[in-house]
């Protein structure tokens, strides 16, 4: 008993989970992510076009979820990792989104850390692996 996302419900959000597809308002031009029925910025338009976000942004705030307190979908991950970081990412296109941080040491995490989206396994339930976005620190390009 309790809240739960069925496989069909998850499937309906695949454009967001897989490709960070946001909705650009045709009236005010701002991008809604996750999607809204009415634009959250101008509150006046329901006309949107789909635009994939760059996945670039920075850590707006964060927490470290301790293993024992993880949501039931993440019990296995918590067991293996002990704890894991969850952040709110400020995306460069404007929206903020909550996601896990990966490929980062706890000591490196700070507000303002530049990050980019990566495609990762999120959790498994009902025998179906759910994939989606996580974020990692931006890797500086190799210097010749």
């Amino acid at each position: 008993m309790g809240a739960h996302i069925s496989v069909p419900m998850y499937q309906r959000s695949l454009p967001q989970r897989y490709r960070l597809v946001g909705l650009k308002c045709q009236k005010c031009g701002k991008i809604n992510f996750p999607p809204k029925g009415t634009c959250k910025y101008c509150r006046a338009s329901t006309e949107f076009i789909e635009v994939p976000l760059s996945g670039k942004g920075y850590v707006y705030t964060y927490t470290i979820i301790a293993g024992g307190g993880a949501p039931p979908e993440f019990t296995d991950q918590a067991l293996i990792q002990g704890s894991y970081p969850v952040a709110i990412i400020q995306l460069e296109e404007g929206p903020r989104i909550m996601a896990q941080l990966v490929e980062v040491e706890r000591e490196e995490i700070k507000i303002g850390l530049p990050v980019e989206a990566v495609f990762r396994r999120i959790y498994e339930e009902e025998g179906v692996i759910r994939y989606g976005y996580k974020f990692r620190p931006v890797v500086p390009p190799c210097k010749p």
Binding site: G2, Y60, T63, I64, P71, I111, G132
Partner: protein, 392 residues
């Protein structure tokens, strides 16, 4: 618009009651509320029941819980309905009851709340507690209820220089108050040192930053203030109320250091009551996590935004301070039986304003005007009530 008064209030002790279900808990609070009506109350005068509950007894009775409980206490005929807004279910049940009186539709009704959380296995409990946030985009990022408030606390630290010690001060204060409250779940004091070194739950929170799971029920009986004197010479009026909502997901909000739902609810309540935050003598606020009490101070107008931790440093909100907050022990130490919490705050204030605290050490002196603040989830909804007794 008719004025609204509380004439009776009762609540069970908060805690772990393996031998009591929602029916027994509700009946106990109801009987105490009836007995608290000074001149007695014929139960046949109760016209409706508004019941706050989130989990409906851990899913025991998801449909029609309110008629079930009304029937259990001998009121099978009255309209009875469950009101749900997560941790603010009780506040919204009271709001509905108050509006029912203020509209003139009823003269005397009951607002109640009940929750049975201790029966739940810890795995089940996580499924339940996750249900008050945005499941799709918060929980499926691996976050928890504590994690969401923890992220707000981390942002507050960044913006305003809040330290972990300030969070701990909330826990220490509320445990100190809870130690004096015979109905509190945790009746022992903790030191600052203890509060700082608990097991980590979600950085920067440890176990002492989080409220527990609790069984409990609370009932208030309210009526048209014109009729209050038929039942008691010492009614407590509800002179202002307000409610608000916000995006469930905190990433959809502009600010993480303030809850807009609370600000809007408070503004409405102050305006209706015709008073200012400085007129509040004491308050019961929704400290599901320590940061929540800190956010409440500014959102309720007790200080400027970002200055809340100064009130804690100066002891302003301690039991002996200028503005005692959570004399009951708050959600932190009194406990948080979700649907009952908002109603339990009204019970505490009713008895405090009438000078009826169970022990004189915890009686707030010369209090005339008080406020309660109840928040759903991480601020997706909120209610604020302002109470006043007669006299100076």
């Amino acid at each position: 618009m008719p004025e609204v008064a509380i004439i009776g209030a009762g609540q069970t002790p908060y805690g772990d009651f393996p031998l009591k279900g929602v029916k027994e808990l509700f009946a106990e609070a109801y009987q105490e509320a009836l007995a608290s009506v000074d001149k007695g109350l014929d139960p046949n005068l109760i016209q409706a029941l508004f019941l706050g509950s989130l989990s409906a007894g851990n899913g025991f009775q998801l449909g029609q819980l309110a008629p079930l409980l009304a029937g259990h206490v001998g009121l099978p005929d009255i309209p009875a309905v469950r009101v749900e807004n997560a941790c603010a279910s009780g506040g919204f049940a009271l709001l509905t009851a108050v509006q029912a009186i203020a509209s003139g539709a009823y003269d005397l009704v009951m607002a109640a709340g009940v929750e049975k959380m201790r029966d739940v296995s810890s795995v089940q409990s996580k499924y339940w507690l996750g249900i008050s946030g945005d499941t799709e985009y918060e929980r499926l990022a691996g976050s928890t209820f504590a994690g969401i408030y923890a992220a707000m606390a981390r942002r507050y630290m960044e913006e305003y220089g809040l330290k972990k010690e300030h969070l701990a001060l909330v826990a220490v204060k509320n445990h100190r108050n809870g130690a004096l409250n015979p109905k509190a779940q945790f009746r022992r004091e903790i030191t600052l040192e203890t509060a700082l070194k608990g097991v980590e739950v979600a950085y920067p929170f440890n176990i002492w930053d989080c409220c527990s799971t609790t069984d409990g029920a609370a009932v208030v009986i309210i009526c048209n203030a014109k009729k209050a004197k038929d039942f008691t010479n010492r009614p407590v009026k509800i002179i202002g109320w307000g409610a608000g909502s916000d995006y469930l997901a905190i990433h959809d909000r502009d600010s993480l250091t303030s809850l807009k739902a609370v600000k809007n609810a408070a503004q409405t309540a102050y305006q209706m009551a015709g008073i200012k935050p400085q007129d509040i003598d004491f308050a019961e606020v929704h400290d599901c996590f320590t940061i929540a009490e800190i956010l409440a101070y500014a959102d309720l107008g007790f200080c400027q935004e970002g200055q809340a931790h100064r009130l804690l440093e100066e002891g302003v909100t301690s039991l002996e301070g200028r503005l005692p907050v959570n004399a009951s022990g708050g959600l932190k130490a009194k406990g948080h039986p979700i649907g009952a919490t908002g109603i339990g705050m009204a019970c505490e204030i009713f008895h405090q304003l009438r000078g009826e605290a169970e022990r004189k050490e915890r009686q707030i002196r010369n209090g005339r005007t008080a406020l309660s603040h109840n928040v759903g989830g991480s601020g997706g909804s909120a209610t604020v009530f302002i109470y006043q007794r007669e006299g100076e």
